[in-house]
């Protein structure tokens, strides 16, 4: 963990609502695309709106798309997720394909706040054989032993403790 992660919350890899165990539902609920109709830095977004946006909408009917032209401002994409989080992205000077790729990338996200992963794997049952107890792997000879017991095999003495 580096110093820049001090304010980042820590967590585990999870899926919202056990998504995918029943049916998979995309977590992106709406997208607001803001761009300028004349400025050069919005060119890629304009081309995307002209030629790819309808396809994108047809492929992702679960995403409500809003297009908002605004004069002489840098183009941005705001992605809003089902859990209420939102992602904000500057897409100045990006090409049409890049915009399409970033938008498709947003559709695959869960919308969970970025967090530092404690571990890259997680399980509810870490031990398959069962939890260790002091009774595990006891020597069966103890069942028939008579106490107090004097061990004749010094190299085995610790096994009777």
């Amino acid at each position: 963990m580096s110093n820049s992660h001090l304010f980042m919350s820590a967590g585990w890899v999870t899926a919202p609502l056990n998504n995918g165990i029943g049916r998979y539902s995309g977590q992106l609920q709406r997208v607001v695309i803001k761009f300028c109709k004349t400025h050069g830095c919005s060119r890629g977004v304009r081309e995307f709106v002209e030629s790819n946006l309808i396809d994108f909408s047809r492929q992702n009917p679960g995403v409500a798309v809003y297009v908002k032209p605004r004069r002489h401002r840098a183009p941005t994409i705001t992605a809003e997720y089902c859990n209420g989080e939102r992602g904000y992205m500057h897409v100045s000077n990006m090409s049409r394909d890049e915009v399409y790729k970033w938008l498709s990338h947003q559709t695959t996200q869960s919308g969970r706040e970025f967090c530092r992963y404690r571990k890259f794997w997680r399980t509810e049952t870490p031990s398959i054989q069962g939890v260790w107890s002091p009774h595990t792997f006891r020597d069966p000879r103890l069942n028939l032993a008579e106490f107090p017991m004097v061990s004749t095999a010094p190299k085995d003495w610790f096994r009777f403790c």
Binding site: N3, L6, P16, L17, N18, I21, G22, R23, S25, G26, Q29, R30, V32, P61, G62, V63, A64, Y66, K68, E80, Y81, C82, N83, G84, E124, T125, S133, P134, H135, R138, L142
Partner: protein, 328 residues
């Protein structure tokens, strides 16, 4: 002397390095947060989050369509709208109209009735699904799991994660858990009305029942008197009565003592448990025997969440096919 000076120099350098590497919170953090807080207090209500549906980029019909498509279901827009109309919204509108001097006249109906019907459908279906997938578990423990799945907390959580907070028409923003619970239950009922109870049951399976995936079911089925319950269970299945036996003790009369007890029936071990006293260990062993018999242990085969069950009418005769409300 020279050696001493050199060592002092090295010491100084090393302490400077450790100061640079220390990971404390920076000095600016507390003052910055304090400034944020005082500005928020000055702003008053303006600092509250604005409801999403007051934004310029908001199309309610498109949002409702997208909501249905996300769940891969076809809702009838009018019915879904009614399902998302909370009673607090109507009351607020009524008060507003009275203030202006108009006689309150609203043809809208809130989702209270739909929520109740939806909850009933959900509770029946969840019970049916659990009885089918965990057939050996007695009914009272099935009801424990069902109550967990149809609890208010669970439904508020699901409703929030589905993104209902923005879609509900209500007085408060963000909506309170009660409003979310009502809305989620009515959405299920709205689907039952739009596309039939079977589709609604499928949605309940995928959203509600799937929440027990990977959970420890033994938490919901802990008998109060395990030995008595085990005796009854063995009697009903025509087996020999249980016989608890001490397998081993470690650290007897010590604060960290550990007892290992096995429960036998007809000289076959049916359960094993540990505890800090013989009594606790025996109770745990009886619980273990029961859990093995009921097939709810951690090592059971995972529950399937893809089952298609026969229609609810066959499970409970009182269920009627949902009828459409009269839209005025």
């Amino acid at each position: 002397m020279q050696a001493l000076r050199r060592s002092l120099l090295i010491l100084r350098a090393s302490s400077a390095a450790s100061r640079l590497e220390s990971r404390n919170f920076q000095k600016y953090v507390a003052p910055t947060y304090k400034a944020f807080l005082s500005k928020k207090k000055k702003m008053g209500r303006l600092a509250d989050p604005h409801p999403r549906n007051t934004f310029a980029e908001w199309n309610y019909d498109a949002e409702l369509y997208a909501f249905g498509q996300r769940l891969r279901e076809n809702f009838e827009p009018e019915i879904l709208k009614q399902a998302l109309l909370d009673v607090s919204y109507l009351e607020k509108r009524k008060i507003e109209q009275e203030e202006v001097g108009i006689e309150p006249e609203l043809n809208l109906e809130h989702n209270g009735e739909m929520a109740n019907t939806g909850n009933r459908l959900m509770s029946l279906y969840v019970e049916q699904y659990l009885t089918t997938t965990i057939p050996k578990l007695p009914k009272k423990y099935i009801k424990n799991i069902r109550d967990h799945l149809i609890s208010d907390d669970m439904h508020a959580h699901i409703g929030k994660q589905l993104g209902l907070s923005d879609l509900i028409l209500c007085d408060e923003y963000p909506p309170t858990p009660e409003i979310l619970v009502r809305a989620f239950r009515s959405v299920i009922q709205a689907l039952a009305i739009s596309s039939g109870a079977d589709r609604a049951c499928g949605l309940v399976r995928d959203l509600v029942v799937a929440q027990i995936a990977g959970q420890d079911l033994t938490l919901f089925c802990s008998p109060e008197n395990p030995l008595k319950e085990l005796e009854e269970h063995l009697k009903s299945t025509n087996q020999q009565p249980p016989e608890p036996r001490l397998i081993s003790v470690i650290g007897q009369n010590f604060i960290l003592s550990s007892y290992d007890v096995g429960v036998y029936s007809n000289k076959i071990m049916i359960g094993r448990g540990f505890g800090e006293s013989a009594e606790t260990a025996q109770n745990m062993a009886c619980c273990d025997a029961l859990w093995r018999a009921w097939d709810v242990t951690v090592r059971r085969k995972p529950i399937s969440f893809k089952l298609e069950l026969p229609p609810l009418e066959k499970f409970d005769v009182s269920v009627k096919t949902p009828s459409r409300p009269v839209v005025t």
